[in-house]
Amino acid sequence: MSSESVKFPFFSPRRVLIIAGNTFTQLIRMKVFYFLLVFVLLGIGIHFLPELPHLSGPESVGPEELRRMKSMLIAVMKLFALILGIVATSLIIPRDVEDRTLYTILSKPVPRLDYLVGKLLGILLLIFAGLALMALLLDLVLHFRTQAVLAEWMQAADTLIAQGQWTAADKESARLEILHHGVTWSLQAAMLTIFFEAAVIAALALLVSTFSSSTLFTVVIATLCYFIGQFIANGRDYWLAQSRHGEEPALVISSKILVVIFPDFRPYGIADKVIAGANFPPDVLGSLALTTGLYVGIYLVLSWFVFSDKEI
C-alpha cells in the first residue's frame, strides 16, 4: 500500500474539519437545538409587532426604548450562546463514550487532538451560525424600530421647534442620539464578544468533560466556573489589595493561575456598556479576541493532556 510510506501527520486540519462538520450536523439535527433556536428567534421576532402593548412608563420612549430592546435581545442571545456552549459541549464526549462511537472513531487513524479540536470547532461553528442568524434578525428589528422612533421624534422635534422650545441643533442632537442606539458597528462588535465568551466557556466545558463521565457533572461545574468567572477578577483585586504581601510574586502568580482556572469574564461585560450607548473601541475587540484565543488554547491543551491518556 502506498500510504504505508507516507509520514503520518501529527495534526490534520482536514480531519478536524470532518469531525467539526459531523458535530455541527449532529447538533443541528438535535430536536433540543431547534427548540432553543425557535424560542430565541421568537423572542427577537416578537419585536416586529408594532402594536405590542408594553408595560414601560413614559421614560421608556425614544432612545430609551431602543436601549431596553437591545438589552433584552442581547441577553437572549447571550443565554442561547452560553446554554449551547455548556450543554452541547458537556454532552458530546460522554455521549460518544457511552454509545461507543468514540471507539469506532479512535480506532481509525485519528489522533485524539484532532478529535477534541474537531468537536470544539463544530460546537463553536454552531454557536457562531446561531448568533449570526440572531444578529441578522436583531439588526432588522432594531433598524425598523429605530426608523419608527426617529420619525416619531423628528415630528415631535418639529413641533417643539415651531413652539420655540427647541432649536435645529437640539433636533440634530436628538437624531444622532437615536441613531446611536440603532444598528451600529459597536453593536456588531458587542454581539461578537458574546461569541467570544461562549467560546471560552465551551472550551472550559470541554476540559471538564475530558475527566468527567457525567454530562450533569460537566454542566454543573462549567456553569459554576462561569459564575465564579464573573467575580473572580474583582475578588483577586480585592485579595491582593487587602493582603500586606500584595507584591509578593508567589501571591501574584497564584492569583493569575486562579484566573486561568476560573476565566475572567469581566472584560466581556463591555457589551453592556455598548447597549448603554458607549462606543466599542477597536483595540478592545482585538485584545478580547486575543484573550479568547489564549483561553481556548490553554483549555484545549489541558484537555488534550487529560484526554490523550484517558482509558476509554
Binding site: M1, S3, E4, F8, R15, I18, I19, N22, T25, Q26, R29, M30, D99, R100, T101, Y103, T104, I105, L106, S107, K108, P109, V110, P111, D309, E311, I312
Partner: protein, 295 residues
C-alpha cells in the same frame, strides 16, 4: 525473510486502579500471542476475562501497564498503526442523525479517503453488507442486525488488512447472526486477517483457524483449532472404499489387542464449547466433562 505478523501481543499486562484509587485489578496478565496475515483468530473467554481489554490495548484505546502490542509491526499505541485496522465494537451505536451512506462516508473521510475513491468504496461496502436498500435511512431507524452490519461496513471502508470484531453477533437474531458469520467467511476467503472474540463458541469454531482461551486475564490455551479440539489418546482411521468385512476384520484385530478399545471409526473431536468449559471451570467440575461428545 519471515513475514511480519498481523498482530503481535507480547507479555501484555493491564492493571486498572480500584475504587477511589485503592488497590489494582489485573485485567490482563502476561498475555502473548501472534496472528499471521490471512488468519482468522478467535479469542474466547468468560465475561470479565480480559478479552475486550486485550482488544482495546491492541487498538490503543487503553495503554498497557507493561508489555506491548503491534499491528503489522507497528506499535499499537501509535495512531499510525490504525491505518490498516477496521474495528467493530460490541453493541455499537453510531451517530443516529446520519444515514447509512453518510456514516460510511464519515468514517471513510476519517481514513483520508475522498472523491471518487470514497464514493466507490462506500457503494462496495454497502453492497457487501447488503444495506443498499437502507442507505438513505437514518441509523435511528435501523434494527440491531442492521447496525451490526453497518458497523462491519464502517470497519471495512478503508479496505484494512486486519479486522477486529468484538462480539460481532451479540444481540443479533439467528438470521442476522448467520449473515455476519457468512460475511466473516467471505472476508477470510478474500485474505483478510480477522481477530474476533465471541461468546458463540460454535461460530468461533466455524470460522477460526486458531483460537486462544483467556481466563482471569491469562491465556490458558492457545493454538490451531484443529489441534486443540483433537483428542490425543484416540486415533481416527479413515479408509476409502472399505468393505464391511474389512472393517469387521480391523475391529476384531483391534479388540484383540490388550488395552485397546474400539470407540468408533473416524477421528473423534470434542467441541470447542467443551474445551472452553474445561479450561475455565474449576478443576473438580472440569474432571466430570467427557472428552467425547457422544459419551
Amino acid at each position: 525473510m519471515s513475514e511480519v505478523p498481523a498482530v503481535e501481543v507480547t507479555n501484555l499486562v493491564k492493571d486498572f486502579r480500584g475504587s477511589f484509587g485503592r488497590g489494582r485489578i489485573r485485567a490482563v496478565d502476561h498475555v502473548s500471542f501472534k496472528i499471521a496475515p490471512g488468519e482468522v483468530y478467535g479469542l474466547i473467554g468468560p465475561n470479565g476475562s480480559g478479552k475486550s481489554t486485550t482488544m482495546k490495548a491492541l487498538l490503543g484505546l487503553v495503554a498497557p501497564t507493561s508489555g506491548n502490542c503491534a499491528i503489522f509491526g507497528k506499535d499499537s499505541t501509535k495512531v499510525d498503526s490504525r491505518r490498516n485496522v477496521g474495528f467493530l465494537p460490541e453493541n455499537p451505536y453510531f451517530y443516529k442523525h446520519l444515514s447509512g451512506q453518510e456514516t460510511i462516508r464519515f468514517y471513510g473521510k476519517l481514513c483520508g479517503m475522498r472523491g471518487a475513491e470514497l464514493r466507490r468504496r462506500t457503494e462496495e461496502v454497502l453492497d457487501l453488507v447488503d444495506l443498499q436498500g437502507a442507505r438513505k435511512r437514518r441509523l435511528g431507524g435501523y434494527s440491531k442486525g442492521m447496525l451490526q452490519r453497518i458497523g462491519l461496513a464502517q470497519a471495512l471502508v478503508q479496505d484494512p488488512r486486519l479486522l477486529i470484531l468484538d462480539e460481532p453477533t451479540a444481540g443479533v437474531d439467528p438470521i442476522g447472526s448467520r449473515q455476519i458469520r457468512d460475511l466473516i467467511l467471505t472476508l477470510k476467503k478474500r485474505g483478510f486477517t480477522v481477530f474476533l472474540c465471541s461468546h458463540l463458541l460454535e461460530q468461533v469454531q466455524e470460522v477460526c483457524d486458531r483460537v486462544g482461551i483467556i481466563h482471569q486475564g491469562r491465556l490458558v490455551k492457545e493454538g490451531r483449532l484443529e489441534d486443540l479440539i483433537s483428542i490425543e489418546d484416540q486415533t481416527e482411521v479413515v479408509l476409502r472404499n472399505a468393505t464391511p468385512e474389512l472393517l469387521k476384520c480391523i475391529r476384531e484385530l483391534a479388540e484383540g489387542e490388550e488395552g485397546v478399545d474400539w470407540v468408533r471409526s473416524g477421528h473423534p473431536r470434542t467441541t470447542l464449547e467443551r474445551l472452553f468449559l474445561r479450561e475455565t471451570l474449576p478443576q473438580e467440575a472440569a474432571i466430570d466433562l467427557p472428552d467425547d461428545p457422544d459419551e
